[in-house]
């Protein structure tokens, strides 16, 4: 995962609420065995409309996306995060995110920034003409107009994003604790420890 400290540039002023992952990447794009190239299918149904923000040359390669409440609801498909990455998006700003999407974004080095609706509205207005900057280290979003919006982030996620840490590698280092748990489970709850091997 590529480390991320700040994201700065144009922001796509999408703004829609309840954007589900079927909108971010329709199911027929999921028939792939790689993570690459999904940007072509990103927001396909939105892009079918003339004059949509995603095809506005002003936002070509914009690293930030601004959306409404409950962004990324619905399917657990991580393809939604891969599609955003492939579009060049490294951060999404919205009033709230679905739990699964927020996790998928984080694991792909996409920063999700939750801000109150009125601040998101302000950023949507700024994004029409000007760039936006997100400083992860100081947890603040700024605009060229003195706007300064602080945001919260889980400290563990912040550290992983800033260092580009490999979460699986970190967990594998806890092998002893996992093995101890497995021994205890095999003793106390053997039916859970058996899985598919119980069948004759």
């Amino acid at each position: 995962m590529e480390p991320i400290r700040e994201v700065e540039g144009r922001a796509i002023p999408f703004g829609a609420k309840n954007v589900d992952t079927d909108v971010i990447i329709p199911a027929h794009w999921l028939k792939t065995v790689t993570r690459e190239g999904l940007g072509r299918g990103a927001f396909e149904t939105v892009r079918a409309q003339p004059g949509n923000v995603f095809d506005d040359p002003a936002y070509a390669g914009a690293p930030i996306l601004i959306a409404g409440d409950n962004f990324g609801c619905g399917s657990s498909r991580e393809h939604a995060a891969w599609a955003l990455l492939d579009l060049g998006v490294r951060a999404v700003i919205a009033p709230s995110f679905s739990d699964i999407f927020a996790g998928n974004a984080f694991k792909n080095g996409i920063l999700t920034v939750a801000l109150p609706q009125e601040q998101v509205d302000r950023l949507l207005a700024v994004a029409q003409t000007d760039p936006i900057a997100i400083d992860l280290e100081h947890q603040v979003v700024t605009t060229p107009f003195q706007d300064r919006f602080g945001f919260d982030i889980d400290p563990f996620r912040k550290a992983c994003l800033m260092e580009g840490l490999d979460e699986i590698g970190l967990t594998l280092a806890r092998d002893e604790a996992i093995a101890t748990y497995e021994d205890r489970q095999a003793r106390d709850m053997p039916w859970l420890a058996h899985g598919t091997e119980i069948a004759a």
Partner: protein
């Protein structure tokens, strides 16, 4: 020492904590991992690239479901037929190769037990009460119906579970949905969960695990409970739970991977101890009056857009929230509906009975009861019944349900996810309407431009008969 009263969720959580970190996150042990062909190839590839193995292949079960065509899978000579679509074929081939390469038990496309992962898990006794269950699919919440803590994960988490059999998680908040009273005749588990999502909203459960409580769920079959928990994610909750009880134990006993003998007795004793303690606190509580739940249908492009079948398409200006007004206008435009139109005047051209929400034997019986001795309306161009698994299919055929469907003019198909998300050839044509027993009415979900109305199996059958959305209570007394 008396301990603090705990909820069902807290008890399962506590039993699976490998270790807690200073920042409050926990490494949680995962007991069961279901793998399908769509969200796993990238995870296996990453494992391979890093030289990693699957820690507990015996706690992992792989089944293809999303991509498989629901037409015949075997040639007359018994050989497996190839899939026409090259991308779908490649995903299936990847799972067929990855499962044995990593030592994982694999139920193949032509095996009798094949089906939708969320039907297969409980049916095989692989999913158990009190277990932590994950799958790269948001409808994993379904397994909460047998009292498991089950939730969908992304592909990076699939890889994490394959490699470590754990996930790093922060404890969710808890939400109680208590349903008081009794459901009326003709009102099913699907109507109830659609009604609940309408009340809670698609983001109402975000950050929470829901526990469904009250006499309605106690009286409900396991199939109905799986339907309810399945759609928890449609209310924003990653997981939904119903306490395991005698109904659950009777359902699971004797299934292939369920515990046996003395282990079964020990398991049941533990399962009985899982119910939420008297006095345990929930972070949020919603009370629903069962008597007010009618057969429910969706009108828009979000599962919260529901009304009773006797109602009408809402007027967008009637919503208090301006952004909801906008969303409703866009939904009605996409759905080709006008404000105030009675729901029972909406004509449908397609019917889909299936999906991980409603493809179990009880669902098929409910649909067949309505269709018995009737024919589908000539206005209905395409109507398919897709059983949730090969075992459901065989059971239905033993009961003669397949004949009821085909005599009524519906097609009887092979198991899979099918037209719920249209990754296989089963799609609703652009601009056409479908009465669907699936879980999502999102824009383009059943095919580009397709218009979905979410309904129960009995309501889907009623729509097939009349060619429009219909109150099933008018057809079946």
């Amino acid at each position: 020492m008396a301990s603090r009263p705990r909820t069902l969720y807290e008890k399962i959580w506590d039993a699976h904590v490998v270790e807690t970190r200073d920042d409050g996150t926990a490494l949680l042990y995962i007991d069961r991992h279901l793998v399908h062909e769509v969200t796993s190839p990238q995870a296996f590839e990453a494992l391979r690239a890093a030289g990693r193995t699957v820690r507990r292949p015996d706690l992992t079960l792989a089944v293809p479901d999303h991509n498989l065509p629901t037409t015949a899978r075997r040639a007359p000579d018994g050989s497996q037929l190839p899939i026409d679509d090259p991308e779908s074929a490649a995903q299936l081939a990847a799972l067929e190769a990855n499962a044995p390469a990593f030592g994982i038990r694999y139920i193949g496309a032509t095996d009798r037990e094949q089906g939708i992962v969320h039907v297969v898990g409980p049916e095989q006794g692989f999913s158990l009460p009190g277990a932590t269950i994950v799958c790269g699919d948001s409808h994993t919440a379904a397994h909460g119906g047998i009292g498991a803590l089950a939730f969908g994960i992304g592909t990076s988490e699939v890889e994490h579970v394959l490699a470590t059999q754990t996930l790093l998680l922060r404890k969710s908040r808890t939400m109680e949905i208590r349903v008081e009273g009794e459901l009326g005749p003709g009102v099913t588990a699907k109507d109830l969960i659609l009604h609940i999502i309408g009340v809670v909203g698609t983001a109402g459960g975000t950050g929470h695990v829901i526990e469904y409580r009250g006499p309605v769920f106690e009286a409900m079959s396991v199939e109905g409970r799986l339907t309810v928990c399945n759609m928890s994610i449609e209310a924003g909750a990653r997981a939904g739970l119903i306490a395991p009880d005698e109904t659950t134990f009777a359902y699971l006993e004797g299934r292939p991977f369920a515990p046996r003998g003395a282990e079964w007795d020990r398991a049941v004793a533990w399962w009985r101890s899982l119910a939420t303690d008297a006095g345990a606190a929930f972070d949020k509580s919603v009370v629903i009056d069962a008597a007010r739940v009618e057969p429910t249908v969706s009108w828009g492009t979000s599962p919260e857009d529901v009304v009773p079948i006797g109602g009408s398409v809402p007027v967008p200006d009637s919503f208090a929230d301006p952004s909801k007004q906008d969303a409703a206008r866009r939904s009605l435009d996409y759905m080709g509906l006008r404000p105030g139109q009675p729901m029972t005047e909406i004509a449908i051209e397609n019917v889909f009975i299936g999906s991980c929400t409603n493809s179990r034997i009880e669902d098929l019986r409910a649909a067949a009861e309505v269709l018995r001795g009737r024919r589908k309306s000539p206005q209905v161009k395409w109507a398919i019944v897709v059983p949730g698994s090969g075992l459901v299919k065989r059971q239905a055929e033993e009961e003669g349900l397949d004949r009821v469907f085909t005599d009524a003019g519906l097609e009887w198909r092979e198991p899979g996810c099918s037209a719920c998300l249209a990754m296989n050839p089963d799609k609703v044509p652009p601009g056409e309407r479908c009465a669907s027993t699936s879980n999502r009415n999102f824009v383009g979900r059943q095919g580009p431009g397709a218009r979905t109305h979410l309904v129960s199996p009995a309501m889907a059958a009623a729509a097939a008969v009349t060619g429009k959305l219909t109150d099933v209570r008018e057809l079946v007394s």
